[in-house]
Structures are given as C-alpha cells and as structure tokens.
C-alpha cells in the first residue's frame, strides 16, 4: 500500500486500486477492509476468533 494524502494505492491480490483512507488511521504495509471505495478499518488478517474453543465447549 502506498499513501498520498487521503488516497492510498491498495493491492487486492495483485490488482491495484486507489482507495480513500480519510476515515482510518493507517500506514504503508497495513491491511484494510474496503467498502464503497473507502478503507473503513485496519484489518488484522491473522487475528481469528477461537472457534476451536467453541467447538470444544460443552456449556450447561
């Protein structure tokens, strides 16, 4: 990702697009979630919910 002012060049799996980043705090190298041409939040792709924990859960 390259940032020029409020516009960033975002790489979508090899396709590069210009995205507005005015409503997020991001830096080059960050992953972002994009909606209607705007980055709406910084993404942390490696952060996942503990689904295994839920699979092992036996609540009562």
């Amino acid at each position: 990702m390259k940032i020029k002012g409020q516009i960033a060049e975002v790489d979508f799996d090899g396709i590069k697009k210009e995205i507005n980043v005015a409503i997020v705090d991001v830096k080059v190298g960050d992953f972002v979630m994009v909606h209607a041409g705007f980055a709406i939040e910084k993404m942390e792709p490696d952060l996942v919910a503990d689904i295994q924990g839920y699979l092992n859960k036996d609540e009562k």
Binding site: N20, A22, I23, V24, D25, M33, H35, A36, G37, F38, I40, E41, M43, E44, P45, D46, L47, V48, A49, I51, Y54, L55, K57, E59, K60
Partner: protein
C-alpha cells in the same frame, strides 16, 4: 474440514436446545452469504434463519425515492449508488428519468460524485446507507458535495424490531461492516444473544454456533467472531467525521415507518450542502401523500422478517430481478433478489 465440525456442533447444540430458535441476520452482505453458501439448508429443523432490515436500498422510504426522482425530473443532476436507479415510485424510477433527459449518474464511491461535481456543480448525491457509509458522505459534504440524506443508524431499527414484537427473535447475527465503525459496545442496549461475524461460510457458521451456545446455556452476551476487523471501540475517527456533519433525528424506514433516533440529518453549519433545504421549493410541490408501496409488494413485511420472499404471490412470477416490482427484488442485497438468484425453485 472445520466447517464440517462446526455444522456437527450446531446440530448437537440445537438438539440440546430442543425448541424452535429464530436467528435474524440484519446485514445485506450476510443475507447474500447465507444464500450463496446454502447455509439455511444446513440448519437443523428447529433453527430458522430470518432476514431482517439489512439492505440499505430496501429500507429507504418511498417518500425519499419520490423526492430524489422529483429532483432529477426538475433538472437537478443526481449521483447515487447503482441499485437505486430501478426503485420505482409515483414518478417512475431514476432510469426512466434518465431516458427523459435527466442527468443521473451511478457512482461506486463518493469520490466519483466529487469528480462529477466538477462538471455539474449543482450535483446532488443521494446519501443512503447505515453507519458504514455515513462517514464517507460526511467526508464528501466537508469537501463541498450537496447531499439528500436518507442515512440511518442501525441499532434503533434492531431495538424497534424487538419492541414491536411481531416476530420472536432469539438472537441477532450483528452486521459486520456497521460494527467495524460502531464497535461492540452499542449493542449492549439489547438484552438478547448477539454475535458479530464476518462474511465467509466459516464466519457465518461459527457465528450461528456461538449464538446457539449462548441460547443453550441461557447466556446473553455480545460476542465478536469478526475480530480481524471489528474492534471493541470501532472506528472513532470515522464516527467523529460522521457526527461533525450529521445530527441524529427521526428516520423513515420502509416497512417500519418512523423510528425516532434512527435518522441522520445534515447539521446547520453545513446547511448549504443540504439538498432538502437547497431544493425545498421543488420538494414542497411534491404530493408525498401519494408515496405508497408498489401495489401488492410485500417488501415492507419481508424487511421485518414477517414474510419470506416466496410467501409473496408475485415472487418469481411478475416480480423478478429483470423486472422488479419493489426494492427487495431490485437490490442485490434485497431478500427477494438474493432468494431469486440462489434459491428460486
């Protein structure tokens, strides 16, 4: 592999619950994901997935549709997100207005509207959508774009559904992108099991499992499956931009009517960019008492989860995505459109 394990655990948990459970998704992208991945068909007999008011185009009130078409027909250039063009009101739709010579532009982003405005300074952007698109419109207003706002905040609509009590809702699959902006805290106002999920098959299945586990154990919590995007405090910068420009007022919803505290109007300090004020002379001449739902259209009931698309006699017969009667069939996030594309038979 993991999905199979989640589905197995969903079945086991539903069996332990033993009674009928209704889970409502309130995000158009979740509506699409559930149908695209065939998740509804994977549910145990006692678990029903119900579509709620998550499609922004669908919930836009007929009055606002008639207003924007009136402006277009009066010669005001209009820019809007694509689906709106085919929503029909008492003066036809924006597509037809364009055929009659009106300047109507489809945009993917407000950035494109700002570009068009350079050539058409009188351009009005039809601002629609929930908490996710509000900061984008606010950004564009600060850059000088004139807007007709139908923007809404989402939680009051969920609260209204619970308050109306027309349908038993045992848990909400909370919207992913709205939550990216507002965070997890605002959902605390509703004392009902809720899970924020992402949009992959695994995300949605995991969200359903998390809801069922809450219901089985009698817990009521706001859980977040979509941790890679949604933070507890959401996106405060986006909210600051939104509420610098907009203030909360009444919101008019197709299906639910007026929901106090759910609408967003442009603040006085940005009044020169408020199309409702700027073009009051045109809008005052429109007879909004004639702004009715299309005859026979059940979109309002489908949005509230009271009817499924297939319970509408027009579904797939006179009303199809190529020839839609109401907005639920127009929008790619609408319950009828999604049902037609993925599950027509």
């Amino acid at each position: 592999m993991k999905n199979k394990k989640i589905i197995k655990k969903i079945k086991e948990t539903a069996e332990k619950i033993g009674h009928q459970v209704n889970l409502m998704e309130v995000c158009g992208t979740h509506t699409q994901a559930i149908s695209r991945f065939g998740i509804r068909e994977l549910m145990p007999k006692n678990v029903t997935l119900i579509t709620g008011p998550g499609c922004p185009v669908c919930v836009t009130a007929q009055k606002d549709i008639d207003a924007i078409i009136s402006l277009a027909l009066a010669g005001v250039p209009i820019a809007t997100y694509g689906d709106v063009l085919r929503v029909t009101g008492q003066f036809g739709n924006l597509n037809e207005a364009r055929e009659k010579g009106a300047k109507v532009f489809v945009v993917y982003s407000v950035e494109e509207a700002l570009e068009i405005q350079k050539e058409y300074p009188e351009l009005v952007f039809f601002g629609l959508g929930f908490d996710t698109t509000v900061p984008m419109t606010a950004y564009a207003i600060k850059k000088g774009l004139t807007v007709y706002s139908t923007h809404k905040i989402f939680i009051p609509a969920m609260e209204a559904l619970l308050k109306m009590g027309e349908i038993k809702i045992d848990g909400f699959i909370d919207p992913g992108h709205v939550s990216a902006i507002i965070g997890t805290e605002p959902y605390q106002s509703m004392k009902i099991p809720q899970v924020i999920t992402g949009f992959s098959a695994e995300d949605v299945l995991a969200g359903i499992l998390m809801l069922l586990l809450q219901i089985e154990s009698g817990r009521i919590a706001i859980e977040n499956e979509y941790v890679r995007v949604v933070k507890k405090n959401g996106n405060p910068k986006a909210r600051r931009i939104s509420f610098d420009v907009f203030e909360i007022g009444d919101g008019l919803w197709r299906g639910s009517g007026n929901i106090p505290g759910s609408g967003l109007e442009i603040k006085k300090k940005y009044v020169k960019f408020d199309a409702k004020v700027k073009y009051k002379n045109i809008l005052d001449k429109v007879d909004f008492s004639k702004s009715h739902e299309p005859v026979g259209c059940k979109c309002g009931e489908i949005i509230r989860g009271l009817k499924t698309p297939k319970q509408c006699p027009m579904f797939g017969k006179v009303c199809t995505p190529d020839n839609p009667t109401g907005p639920c069939m127009v929008s790619v996030e609408g319950g009828c459109n999604v049902e037609y594309r993925y599950n027509k038979k």
